[in-house]
């Protein structure tokens, strides 16, 4: 990102003083660039200044002094960039040779291009007498931007990432369900209160009913009946409240995790292709299914239990304290020890759970890799290696779980032991107090009843420590997706495309995958209804160019204009509605053929679907299927041949009646006979639409109005088939090679 947010006319402070000394009077600074490597490719500071007279270079030498050099600008001098991986050079050349060169890292590439272009545009403006109108505006938000760079500072500054911990964000996420959560909380409080009543009643039963009879034969049977009725009644009330509480809270937690799943999936669908390129399917599936499920469990079981426990402990301590503070302290004394233990293992547990989550994700990734790729696995007889690969990740799951269990298995028994000692202390204290006459038998019984509950809850409370960590890890994995910003952002001030005419203009389009620039400034104008054939060797950047036109990615520099508007100004969905794509590997979703054809226009009439299928030459083979258009295809359905699938995908593109049509190797995976069928189908598709087609078989592109030869990220040649053949350039060579291949094959055949 270095260099993209900097303005070309504002020099960093530490250079500006130096520069002021170096510049002659009347000399104006046009642009500057900071190479960040020296000629041994070590990090070093330096600056290249472009003025209206010279190119100046300042290099920081040892001790902080700057060593300056300069070259006058003559007619022949020009700047150029040479990129090789993550380091690149900027070269100053004239007709006699290379004058100087500077090295920089890939992060500075855009800034370097800017300098090169600045020199060119400055020279052009001097030759033409008037400069280009320099007021470019951001296609997304309308703010003025640097014309050469094409990036908007206002848009580049993403929203600050919230630093709240993941679980707190989950709370924020649940705010929509606040009302029912409050209801659940009230129910919890009442249920806990109701459960506190029975031990409380044991005291009067023993002190006012049992002991008077035992010691003095006094009969308090009416009181006894009332107390027992009270016990029975609270049991029923507690049952009803518990049931209501559990149901309400389970509903809420299921609802929240469903909301979360829905939101994550919706967000995932909107992320750009770049995100999916870097993620493994299994991991994403596991995040959306397992992690939300885990959160749901946490909310519905652990959190409810925990809040109940906390309430119970607080209430119990209050009751105990109010009756007999000393005895109460005895009951509570293991509590701080347990808290201390929890604090100690917490960090280890969090790490453990995150590792376990990652291990689980990589195991599902193995499955998601190999099951769709099973044909390849079998073809290369790699079953045993795949089994081994799965075993390795499965073992990792086991070991990460095992590490956690080691902590756990020690932890739980320790807590149990502590609580046993706790009740022992209560006994010791209680007996001592009874001897002293400071407490009654009833009170001691009550204390024991309370402390038993207290301690049984204590253990489950400890489980919370791990549950929280586990849930936090899950929440983190989900919010990681939700925090991802699409690399293809929606415009801030959208221009609605409506139905486009289909004029495409590429202006100095550059694109980088990471640090590797694959398109080095393409310029091309395609008229509405024109068919362009993209030709060139694999890896030349043809598919990248198409991805940019479809806006699966955004350009690194330059702009793509459709009907004179930058594509970044259109809302993504509205823009893509104008584009039909037929890919090399047509993807059919699970569903009927009719549904698959109507994928881009789900409400299309049956007549329209049949018409599209007819035009795509798919109608007749569809009729031969057992259920016609109602036959199921896709992952679990009827298997279709490559050509058949392709024709369905052509019908799909036809049905949405796009203005711009993209054909990416649409016929390369089928035999020539089928190709002819598909070609005929494509003819119907291409008519009247701006079409950009990639093909390796040059014969496929016979009907193209113009052929564009792309080589190494540059446009090498443009022209009609016969023109290019005459030019004897790259196209002629490609054509020659293919002809030889065809003839060679024929020669072998006869």
């Amino acid at each position: 990102m270095n260099g993209t947010n900097e303005k070309s006319d504002k020099l960093p402070a530490h250079w500006s003083d130096e520069t002021a000394v170096q510049l002659e009077t009347g000399e104006t600074l046009l642009a500057w660039f900071e190479p960040d490597l020296d000629d041994r490719l070590h990090y070093a500071r330096g600056v290249v200044l472009l003025t209206d007279r010279r190119v100046l270079s300042g290099r920081e030498v040892e001790g902080g002094a700057v060593h300056w050099q300069s070259w006058p600008l003559t007619e022949g001098t020009s700047l150029r960039t040479v990129e090789h991986g993550s380091a690149a050079t900027l070269e100053l050349v004239d007709s006699s040779g290379r004058l100087a060169c500077w090295y920089y890292t890939a992060g500075k590439a855009t800034a370097a291009h800017r300098l090169v272009q600045k020199l060119e545009s400055w020279r052009r403006s001097r030759q033409d007498g008037d400069g280009q109108s320099g007021t470019a505006v951001c296609p997304s938000c309308g703010a003025p931007i640097n014309a050469e760079d094409g990036r908007c500072e206002a848009c580049a500054a993403g929203p600050a990432k919230p630093s709240l911990s993941a679980l707190l964000r989950l709370a924020a996420f649940s705010r929509r369900r606040a009302r029912i959560i409050v209801l659940g909380f009230i129910l919890t409080v009442s249920a806990v209160s109701a459960s506190m009543v029975p031990p409380y009643l044991t005291k009067p039963i023993i002190d006012n009913v049992v002991r008077p009879w035992e010691e003095r034969k006094e009969n308090h049977s009416t009181l006894a009946v009332w107390l027992l009725i009270g016990l029975a009644a609270t049991a029923i009330v507690a049952w009803a409240l518990d049931w209501a509480k559990l149901y309400v809270l389970a509903w809420v937690s299921e609802r929240i995790s469903a909301d979360l799943r829905a939101k994550t999936y919706a967000h995932l669908q909107r992320l750009s292709l770049e995100f999916f390129g870097g993620k493994r399917t299994g991991d994403l599936i596991s995040r959306i299914s397992n992690d939300t499920e885990r959160l749901c469990n946490f909310l519905s079981i652990n959190l409810i239990d925990f809040s109940t426990d906390i309430l119970m402990i607080v209430m119990t301590s209050v009751i105990l304290m109010s009756i007999n503070p000393l005895l109460a302290l005895a009951v509570l004394c293991p509590f701080p020890i347990i808290l201390w233990m929890v604090a100690r293992v917490r960090g280890r547990l969090l790490r453990g759970y995150r590792q376990a989550g990652a291990a689980w994700g990589s195991m599902t990734s193995v499955l998601a890799d190999t099951i769709p790729g099973i044909r390849v696995v079998k073809a290369f007889a790699q079953e045993s290696r795949e089994i081994e690969r799965f075993d390795v990740s499965n073992e990792r799951v086991f070991h990460s779980a095992n590490r956690l269990n080691k902590v756990w298995s020690l932890f739980s028994p320790t807590v149990t032991m502590l609580t046993t000692y706790g009740s022992l202390i209560v006994w010791v204290f209680g007996i001592w107090q009874i001897f002293k006459g400071r407490t009654s038998l009833g009170e001691l019984t009550m204390f024991l009843a309370y402390s038993a509950r207290f301690y049984t809850r204590m253990e489950s409370m400890i489980r919370m420590a791990s549950a929280v960590q586990r849930a936090a890890a899950s929440a983190q994995r989900i919010f990681e997706i939700l925090d991802k910003q699409s690399n293809v952002p929606e415009p801030v001030r959208p221009v609605h495309p409506g139905r486009l005419e289909g004029r495409i203009e590429l202006r100095g389009v550059r694109f980088k995958y990471g640090s590797r620039e694959v398109l080095h400034g393409l310029d091309l104008t395609v008229a509405p209804g024109e068919m362009i054939g993209l030709v060139g060797p694999t890896g030349a950047g043809k598919t990248t160019l198409i991805n940019l036109i479809c806006r699966f990615y955004d350009v690194s520099a330059g702009a793509i204009l459709v009907d004179g508007t930058d594509v970044r100004s259109f809302p993504v969905e509205e823009y893509r509605r104008n584009i039909g794509i037929v890919l090399q590997e047509p993807f059919l979703f699970y569903g009927t053929i009719a549904e698959n054809i109507a994928y881009g226009r789900p409400n299309a009439s049956r007549e329209a679907i049949v018409a599209a299928a007819r035009a795509a030459r798919a109608h007749e083979f569809i009729l031969r299927l057992p259920c016609g258009y109602d036959s199921l295809v896709g992952e679990r359905g009827q298997s279709l041949s490559g050509g058949e699938r392709q024709r369905i995908s052509i019908a799909r593109a036809l049905l949405i009646d796009p203005r711009i049509l993209i054909l990416d190797e649409a016929t390369s995976s089928v035999d020539t006979e089928t190709e002819r069928e598909i070609q005929a189908a494509l003819q119907n598709l291409i008519r009247g639409r701006t079409t950009i087609a990639i093909a390796h078989r040059l014969s496929t592109l016979r009907r193209a109005d113009r052929l564009v030869v792309v080589e190494n990220g540059h446009i090498a040649e443009i022209g009609r088939h016969d023109q290019l053949l005459e030019a004897r350039g790259s196209y002629a060579r490609l054509h020659q090679a293919q002809m030889e291949l065809v003839h060679g094959r024929n020669g072998n055949g006869t």
Partner: protein, 166 residues
């Protein structure tokens, strides 16, 4: 039998006639009077819209006549077409599921259909498809299809057996 087809462009086919020859083959006489022997009738949307989109194909599967809407044709021809379609369409409608042999596939199913009682083998649970709400299609090991037009109308025993497949 030369009915007049609806004359509104592509919606109605040009007039044609159907008859059986002495060998029992279906013969189409098209609008130009040409005869096509051994033609087949195919429904394009047998499940979602059986009454519309019927195609008459020759023995090689090439389409000869497209009938967008059956109801646009004269009644006698419609009857003839439906009789012919009924002859070649074998999709028993399941009225009741008596027994499913085992909870794991392949399982043997004993069902009562509109064409009588039968048993079939289900290869995988993926062969039970819920078409749209309340409709299900079962494909057996021999690719014979069985239709359940309304799941709600099955008795509770059948529904319970079917539950885990949907």
């Amino acid at each position: 039998m030369e009915p007049k087809g609806a004359a509104n462009g592509q919606a109605g086919p040009r007039p044609f006639g159907l008859h059986y020859d002495v060998w029992g083959r279906l013969v189409l006489t098209d609008a130009d009077g040409r005869q096509h022997i051994g033609v087949e009738l195919v429904r394009a949307f047998p499940l979602s819209d059986p009454q519309r989109g019927i195609s008459i194909c020759d023995c090689k599967g090439r389409e000869l006549v497209w009938i967008a809407d059956l109801n646009a044709l004269p009644v006698s021809l419609v009857r003839q077409i439906e009789e012919e379609l009924a002859k070649r369409e074998f999709v028993p409608i399941i009225r009741r599921i008596v027994k499913v042999s085992a909870p794991i596939e392949p399982s043997e199913w004993e069902v009562e259909t509109d064409r009588g009682c039968t048993t079939f083998v289900l290869n995988s649970e993926d062969d039970v498809h819920e078409l749209d709400e309340h409709r299900a299609l079962i494909t057996d090991a021999n690719s014979i299809r069985y239709l359940i037009p309304d799941l709600r109308q099955l008795d509770s025993h059948s529904r319970r057996l079917l539950e885990r497949y949907l």
